[in-house]
Amino acid sequence: MQHEYPRNGESTHPSSKKPKLSSKFITESDIRDEFSHHQQRVARINNGSYGSCPDSVLTAQRRWQLQFLRQPDAFYFNVLRDGITASRETIKDLINADHVDEVSLVDNATTAAAIVLQRIGRNFAEGKFQKNDTVLMLHCAFQAVKKSIQAYVTRAGGSVIEVRLPFPVNSEEEIISEFKKSIEEGKSNGRKIRLAIIDHITSMPSVVIPVKELVRICRAEGIEQVFVDAAHAIGSVKVDVKEVGADFYVSNLHKWFFCPPSVAFLYCKKSTSSSDLHHPVVSHEYGNGLPIESAWIGTRDYSSQLVVPAVLEFINRFEGGIDGIMKKNHDEVVKMGKMLAESWGTNLGSPPEMSAAMIMVGLPSRLCLHSEEDAVMLRSHLRDRYEVEVPIFHQVYVDREEGVRDKDGFITGYLRMGKLAKCFIRNEEAVIKVGAGFHGITCVLPASDVCCISQFLKNRIKGGQGAAPKNWNF
């Protein structure tokens, strides 16, 4: 009883770089249908957090789910392993890995971080590492990664070096310089840096990091292993694990690669030590290699991992495939970001070449964002009152002299613009076009109300409410 997943009879090595030749690419109307399950009134500008998944992929996922429920034992014995291998093969080709054994599927980047860091913790416990050996990370590393370091490294006696990411940032050289400084500091007093954790695209604030160069520096400086946390990468920037050259590389497939929640790949370059990586949830597959361990961690729903080949079919309906999507997302988000920054008299957090499908846009200083709480409140307010979903970043300045100013003061807040809403209204309501096009998500806003962030903020500023509002009740 074999599942007829799409690879039957087709090439088992679909290349993402060469989409199927088709005279008919996906249309705007097709895209709207594919994402019609999104809440229509919400301007969903935060694809970076939780991603999105088109209807045709959800349908493929349901087929897998029903197949399991229909006859679970047969599914387990005859279908599951091959299905996961097919997904891993697809990913191996996408990321230019040498061997499918280097590719494991896990739930998300958070799980991958736990896998890599749990091993570091074991090395401390088993005396392979000495007390005060170091792990290096960016200061803006994702909070889960920081906590994972606390749970596995600090607890086991290791120390941590944080590399301060300059922000706003103007060039890759600024990052490289900070990185080198931190390595020097890390190696001081004879400490050994056992692992460097480098984001490919930082989460908040979002910047594309020159990973290839940083990995090269790590090698030159004798850092034992490098783990690239590329949660946002695949579907957002080019991913070539051989070119990047890290020991471990993880990316979520549900953020920018249209997979249902959730699935990520963890690439582990073949080496003597890679055999000692284990999934923390142990099953009877323990010891058979991380990819096999990860492919069975007890009874659960593996459908989001099985659906990867179907996702590639969806992507290849777009002109240029994933490359086409990436370019269009990037061009549009930069265009929109520039437009907003100009309109507000603020700045972008990084130059366009250091952004992918997300960009940081400075918020007018008159909004007086003075804390993380202010940022959270603004975000909630935008969601509840204006049905705009966008994360807000509060910039902490170590030295006020470095701050960027607009005409009224220091810029302390940025919004992270992910996918953009092409706003239009059906039926009788007025059409308001924000500006850039977008693949698939539409949002409907009433003409009588504030129509986008830009207008909302203009109103705020016009209203002269420049003094720090501690309470966003209005």
Partner: protein, 439 residues
């Protein structure tokens, strides 16, 4: 309002789910498979699949809003439902995880830290039964043994005739550990063993552990809830885990891990670390990164489903047990074999001896027989190889583990199975040699 006891007595019976409705709820099951292995991967009715889909769509519709406003309250609701079902004192004692394998990893990782941080010493032991689930044994190897611990395996007598036989083996093993000067830090006890399946006298086993001064008692009740009575206060263990997708109709997958409140319990962590690290295991487990939490959020709806059956979950358990014992006894009689344990030590599963002429002589034979039954006869049933002991004459070496759940039709299955086994056995006549197992 007329709420006198007289009028209450006259209240008409509520409508219970009908056989036709049950059939409809499980109409997605393969129609030509005799599915008598519910203990393997469980089942989920259509109405719960629909409820789960609604939750999935809510997330996809507006994930940020779902994350900020709905996820945590939803998880708390599920935990409260479970807390009441299992008679736990406080909802903080209840964490929801993917499955029992995850739960055991959580507890064993905590033990490994005990070794690393000097609370335990090299050679300190864990005691468990020899038939513990494969994943549990591997988890013990990965975390406990690797950190310096020692494993004491207690043989499970099988076939078994009474609770006392099990208790005696357990006492002997602990006595031996004591004589050897070993500190037993953890006891891992199945509530219902996996293969061969037997209901263990957990309450007495926990008492023995307490008398022996064992630090922690962990009950692996993967088959517990919906299959046997699950009462945390009565059982008295430190940790107790049960899958909800095996016998409680949850979609794959969800399980609870109960951790009795103590100084220790706050030190348990989910191995997948997020920003919730340090906020208690229950909170850590309710967010382990972006993923589909719908199977865990749908738990309140499960109660709605089981309460459509007469007697609710207790009625289901009782009827499953009675039916599977009937089926087992009929098969044993037809084949001239016996059950693996007396009925009171069976749950919703029973071990039925297979005729000796089938010559199940190894684990490979039992796998092959299982595959053969699936492929040739459309019967899904787990087969167990029971190695003969020294000095035994003509023991049964093969057993079928039969499960019974609400979607099974007793008489039909029975006739089918007897018919199949008749055909199967007739294949072996006149020569009772290898034959079908080499197919």
């Amino acid at each position: 309002m007329n709420t006198t006891s007289a009028s209450a007595a006259a209240t008409p019976q509520p409508f219970f789910i009908t056989p036709a409705e049950v059939f409809s709820e499980f109409s997605h099951h393969h129609p030509s498979v005799a599915r008598i292995n519910n203990g393997g991967l469980g089942c989920c009715p259509s109405s719960l699949i629909s409820s789960q889909r609604q939750i999935q769509l809510q997330w996809l519709r507006q994930p940020d809003e779902f994350f900020f406003n709905q996820l945590q309250p939803g998880m708390l609701r599920s935990r409260n439902v479970i807390k009441d079902l299992i008679n736990a004192d406080h909802v903080d004692e209840v964490s929801i995880v993917d499955n029992a394998s995850t739960a055991i990893s959580i507890v064993l990782q905590h033990m490994a830290w005990g070794f690393a941080e000097g609370k335990f010493h090299s050679g300190d032991a864990t005691v468990m039964f020899h038939c513990a689930y494969g994943a549990v044994k591997k988890s013990v190897e990965a975390y406990f043994v690797r950190a310096g611990g020692y494993v004491i395996e207690v043989p499970l007598p099988f076939p078994v005739n009474s609770d006392d036989e099990i208790l005696q083996e357990f006492r002997q093993a602990l006595e031996k550990a004591k004589q050897n000067g070993r500190s037993v830090r953890l006891a891992i006890i199945d509530h219902v063993t996996f293969m061969p399946t037997v209901v263990m006298p957990v309450k007495q086993l926990v008492s023995i552990c307490r008398e022996a001064g064992i630090d922690h008692v962990f009950i692996d009740a993967a088959h517990g809830i919906g299959c046997v009575d699950v009462d945390m206060k009565q059982i008295g263990a430190d940790f107790y885990t049960s899958n909800l997708h095996k016998w409680l109709f949850c979609p794959p997958s969800a399980a609870f891990l109960y951790c009795r409140k103590s100084n220790q319990s706050s030190a348990l962590h989910h191995p997948v670390v997020t920003h919730q690290y340090g906020n208690g295991l229950a909170t850590e487990s309710s967010w382990i990164g972006t993923r589909d939490y719908s199977a865990q959020l749908v738990v309140p709806k499960i109660l709605e489903f089981v309460n459509r059956f007469e007697g609710g979950i207790d009625g289901i358990k009782r009827r499953n047990h009675d039916a599977v014992v009937d089926m087992g006894e009929m098969l044993a009689k037809a084949w001239g074999t016996h059950l693996g344990c007396p009925p009171h030590m069976c749950s919703s599963m029973v071990m039925v001896g297979l005729p000796a002429c089938l010559h199940v002589s190894s684990d490979q034979d039992s796998s092959k027989l299982r595959t053969y039954l699936r492929g040739k006869f459309g019967v899904e049933v787990s087969i167990y190889y029971r190695p003969p002991k020294d000095g035994e004459v003509g023991p049964l070496t093969g057993y079928a583990r039969i499960s019974y759940q609400v979607y099974n039709k007793l008489l039909l299955l029975l006739l089918w199975f007897i018919d199949i086994s008749g055909k199967y056995l007739s294949l072996l006549q006149p020569k009772a040699t290898t034959l079908p197992l080499s197919h």
